[in-house]
């Protein structure tokens, strides 16, 4: 048994409650315990049974005539809640009505206040959601604009398209280079790129006037279309496998792909 229950039972409040000796506030406390704890309810039932037994043990026959008198009055006096008599206006008690209206008004005010609080929270949430959606929308619009530009670029009449397909050193390598001498711009589309050891990378070179010039490292994590460095007078594009971070000069022995432009 919980300590709280044991302490409560030791107060003797339960016995006093059965005898009707408590103040309303104390009665409310006892009723709360009875409702919450089956152990208290059981003791409460036992005390009631005990009182029932005690009073029966001290029973005395009621003098004759009392029952008849009571039953006669009962015949003339139906219980209050089934009374058929209409209430008299003069005896109508407005206090409960006023109290009820006050309670109703209070409840309504609280409801309104509570409702306003809820609305404010809802508006704040909606504003936050709106800001998020707006940001997302702007981001999508930007992406869409970029894609439009890329599409325009690769569909431009002066843009040439070259396939850089890997040799036996990287058979899965497949990148498309878009080259536009008019716009002086280049772009790569990475279709496939094999995984290299952590200490290696793919690097793109342009052959300009017999010299291999660095155009940059191709990362597998790059977007589908990647802007790349443009060099005028490039004769070919070449991809080599280089140490991580790239090299100043290509390792020709590790050439993976090349295409003349």
């Amino acid at each position: 048994m919980k300590e709280e229950i044991r302490e409560f039972l030791n107060t003797g409040l339960l016995e006093q409650y059965v005898l009707g000796l408590l103040e309303p506030s104390e009665s409310a406390e006892v009723e709360s315990y009875i409702q919450r704890y089956p152990e208290v309810k059981k003791v409460y039932q036992e005390i009631q049974d005990g009182m029932d037994n005690l009073l029966r043990a001290s029973a005395k026959p009621v003098p004759a005539g009392v029952k008849d008198s009571i039953m006669n009055q009962v015949d003339d006096t139906p219980p209050a809640y089934i009374s058929s008599n209409p209430p008299k206006v003069s005896s109508f008690n407005w206090l409960p009505v006023a109290a009820g209206l006050a309670l109703l008004f209070g409840a309504f005010s609280f409801f309104q206040w509570n409702n306003n609080q809820g609305k404010e929270q809802e508006i704040a949430t909606l504003e936050k959601d709106f800001a998020t959606y707006k940001e997302e929308c702007e981001s999508r619009n930007l992406n869409y604009a970029n894609l439009q530009k890329q599409l325009e670029f690769i569909n431009h009449s002066e843009t040439d398209k070259f396939l850089l397909k890997g040799n036996e050193k990287a058979t899965d390598f497949q990148v498309i280079a878009y080259w536009n001498d008019f716009a002086k711009k280049s772009m790569l589309r990475i279709n496939e790129m094999p995984q290299l050891p952590d200490n290696q990378c793919f690097q793109l070179w342009a052959d300009v006037d017999g010299k291999m010039l660095n155009l940059g490292i191709i990362n597998s994590t790059d977007d589908l279309f990647v802007d790349f460095k443009y060099l005028a007078n490039a004769e070919s594009l070449n991809v080599t496998i280089e140490p991580k971070g790239g090299s100043d000069h290509p390792t020709v022995a590790d050439l993976v792909a090349n295409v003349f432009i």
Binding site: N10, T11, G12, L14, E15, Q16, V18, L19, G20, L21, E31, Q45, E46, I47, Q48, D49, G50, M51, D52, N53, L54, L55, R56, A57, S58, A59, K60, P61, V62, P63, V66, K67, S69, I70, M71, Q73, V74, D75, T77, P78, P79, A80, Y81, I82
Partner: protein
């Protein structure tokens, strides 16, 4: 027995007059036994029982079976009616004594003296200190504070003795021999 009492309580709440009469037959003697010990006057006791049962009938819809057994509720109504009657008689008696000797209800303050209460036999089976407190509260019509003053005991002691006394009685009533004897005695009342 318990289900029957619950059933009668539910029917009473609905204004069932037969249930009310059954309750009277079942409990009026137990309540009268308490009341006559409190007021010590047959006429007053009869008035108290009559007023109490009329209140029980009129307020039947207020009875909440979730809160108390129907007999507990009836006991509380009757006890309060008896206390009201005692106060009323006492006030009337004091006024009339100032004018002339009164033969209206020969009770007054002595009527709630637990020392003169004819306690039921069963109470003599528990220790006197518990019997005194239960006698004062059940049959003397006293509040706990009045019992504390009258018995010259701290209020806390009165509360503790009430608790222990009722538990002692519970033990006695759990004895099958006592229950059998008691049931036979109780049954005779209605024969």
């Amino acid at each position: 027995m318990k289900n029957l009492a619950k059933d009668i309580g539910d029917r009473l709440r609905k204004g069932d007059k037969v249930a009310f009469e059954q309750l009277y037959d079942r409990y009026s003697a137990a309540l009268y036994g308490m009341v006559i010990r409190m007021v010590k006057d047959e006429d007053v006791a009869k008035d108290v029982i009559q007023d109490s049962f009329i209140k029980i009938w009129k307020n039947a819809s207020k009875y909440d079976p979730q809160k108390a057994k129907v007999f507990t509720w009836m006991y509380q109504v009757t006890r309060n009616t008896a206390l009201d009657k005692l106060r009323q008689v006492k006030n009337r008696g004091e006024k009339e004594i100032q004018i002339k000797d009164s033969n209206v209800y020969n009770i007054g303050i002595a009527g709630i003296n637990p020392d003169t209460v004819d306690l039921p036999e069963i109470l003599h089976q528990i220790d006197e200190k518990y019997r005194q407190v239960i006698g004062a509260l059940f049959y003397g019509g006293m509040t706990q504070q009045e019992a504390s003053d009258h018995l010259d005991l701290p209020l806390g002691t009165v509360k503790t003795r009430l608790k222990i006394g009722l538990r002692e009685l519970r033990k006695i009533f759990k004895d099958p021999l006592v229950l059998t004897a008691f049931s036979a005695e109780f049954a005779n009342i209605f024969l």
